[in-house]
Point group: C2
DNA sequence: TTGTAAGCGTTATCAT
DNA sequence: ATGATAACGCTTACAA
């Protein structure tokens, strides 16, 4: 390995000068700089990032914490994929590297490992839920001065860095759209209320229904776990209620597709006997038959924003507001438009 | 930050002894160990990973290099997602961390950055193509002693670490299945021949056709870029050839779904007027309508295998054969079974 | 069984 | 504008 020392010797300068050249510091005679650069080039010198981290007491790594999800190959979901891509783009612009951390059930409580080992300067935490134990863990991080940012999750009453989407408005628009299309009995297949976005969607649903003078019927409220299977199972319940339900709003696309598949097996087709709209506007929405209407959530941008935010808090880049909310968008396709066939 | 020094003082031992305790080295009086552990605990000591890397001259990081793909949000594909999950699982078992590197067009040539900066001990390179310039880059890495492993790509004539799937056999089985179902004129929508798996599939296709005494008709060979759109476009060509084609084998699921969508718009339904089979057995295969027959490729296991292989080459774990090939599996669903409706 | 001390390749501070 | 040098927190001979 070529070290600074060798470069210094070849260039006939001190090691400190070599450092200054590579860090662009201090005033410097152009000729000296030139000599150093030439020497470095001749020797094939590249600064050792580990040594730099060691001396700077900064790793230059941004941690990305991914939740433990049993039986799910984590990255296989549009959600995480998009966010991760966004993080990647931002991070590289800021000269940081990405350190991935896949949680196991054991270290659920122990978000701190990466920080304590100093492998990361800050983290982005994905897929966190609002449970007492997670609140506790995050509070600990905050108390210990470990900077982090949450994506797509808010913790009411706590002051964390958060990048979220406007799920209330998105949900409102989805339900509003279904109502505009002439539906009155609108089922809502939501996710766990431990996700703030589920609670937000529920608010949006209520707002749209009430605004249209429609009743909130608790029979029409179902809960799934974001899997296609849970949507498929919900279809069975919806089928039981046929005659008392004419549309479904699902909290993600996979469940919406599961619903469509389940009802199709019983002869009901989305866009004909009933209307369906999902959330995320994932690839699957375009792949499904009929194409699925959906609420587009800017996951990619959310990943970028979270990176910017949390790195700013560590002194990189310009600082911003601690809580960010991006807007969603309604994408109408065939599944929510009832046509005559 | 609590350092080893403080622990040593509190435990009344030398710093070296503290290190030995934490690295489980050398013989040691249990009482001493006990005292050190207690002191560490009392102070909340955790070894500094950066300092360890620095002293060991090993980062403890495995780099994952992802290709540059314009206009594609990289992780949004089943392919990369699965492999990455597999890598993650293996890496954590071996106490390594994962450093992600998203290539830009500029550093296409410069695979070496991560190594030179010493941020990683080895890399897994995903999505590489067999072009002269990439061969060159990889050869350079090898010459410079930078360990790496390729996934799902072979470079004939070169001796790299590679974990691949048996695409010849997978393709053979797919086409064989189509033939068994009574199809004779089988179109093949392949990917770029710069991917070894495309060449492999082509071999499997030929083998199945020849074995069944069927002609290889070059008109039936199409090339796409793995996007749904390219499948959709291929559908137009296939439609032109109607009467001279009764089945399609596509090199991935997304293209297969694009084909189904394109032909459905013209009134042809997969599993009725024609048969379709894809590759990857991604989620989309189950989400599509009709469900898509596909060749399952063990991407997750391939990621695990590549991690094991390349870390072994760096002296972690037990070493293995340099070239690994895992088997694929035929998954028959409705799209390839023509039924009477 | 434990201590001593020489690295490791930088950064950053203080001189000059 | 440049050089000397003390950290930085650990690993790892070597000594005792």
């Amino acid at each position: 390995m070529v070290t600074r020392k060798e470069v210094a010797e070849l260039a006939n300068v001190s090691e400190a000068t070599v450092s200054r050249v590579f860090n662009g510091l201090g005033p410097m005679k152009p000729a000296t700089k030139e000599r150093v650069l030439e020497a470095a080039n001749a020797l094939g010198y590249h600064p050792n990032a580990i040594a730099q981290s060691f001396a700077r007491r900064r790793s230059g790594n941004l941690g990305v914490v991914l939740p433990y999800m049993p039986k799910v190959h984590l990255f296989s979901t549009y959600y995480f994929s998009e966010i991760l891509s966004g993080i990647g783009e931002q991070v590289r612009e800021m000269g940081y590297d990405l350190l991935l951390s896949l949680l196991t059930p054991d270290d659920e409580l122990d978000y701190g490992r990466l920080y304590r080992s100093q492998k990361v300067d800050a983290c982005i935490i994905l897929g966190s839920m609002d449970t007492p134990s997670q609140r506790q863990s995050l509070l600990h991080l905050q108390e210990n001065g470990h900077p982090f940012c949450l994506v797509n999750q808010r913790f009411e009453g706590l002051d964390f860095l958060e990048v979220d989407a406007d799920h209330v408005e998105g949900s409102y628009q989805a339900v509003r759209h279904l109502i505009d299309e002439g539906n009155r009995q609108i089922a809502f297949l939501n996710g766990s209320p431990q996700y703030s976005n589920s609670r937000d969607r529920w608010l949006g649903y209520q707002r749209a229904m009430l605004e249209a003078g429609l009743p909130i019927n608790s029979e029409l409220l179902l809960e799934g776990n974001y899997s296609r299977k849970s949507g498929y199972e919900a279809a069975a319940k919806l089928w039981e209620m046929r005659g008392r339900v004419d549309a479904v709003f699902a909290a993600n696309d996979r469940m919406a597709i599961g619903v469509m598949q389940g009802l199709r097996e019983r002869g009901w087709m989305a866009g004909r006997e009933f209307a369906v709209i999902g959330c995320d506007d994932s690839d699957a929405a375009k792949l499904s038959d009929p194409p699925l209407s959906s609420i587009a959530v800017p996951f990619f941008e959310m990943g970028k924003g979270a990176s910017r935010l949390v790195l700013a808090s560590v002194g990189q880049g310009v600082s911003e507001e601690g809580q960010v909310q991006l807007s969603t968008q309604l994408r109408i396709r065939q599944s929510s438009i009832k046509r005559q066939y």
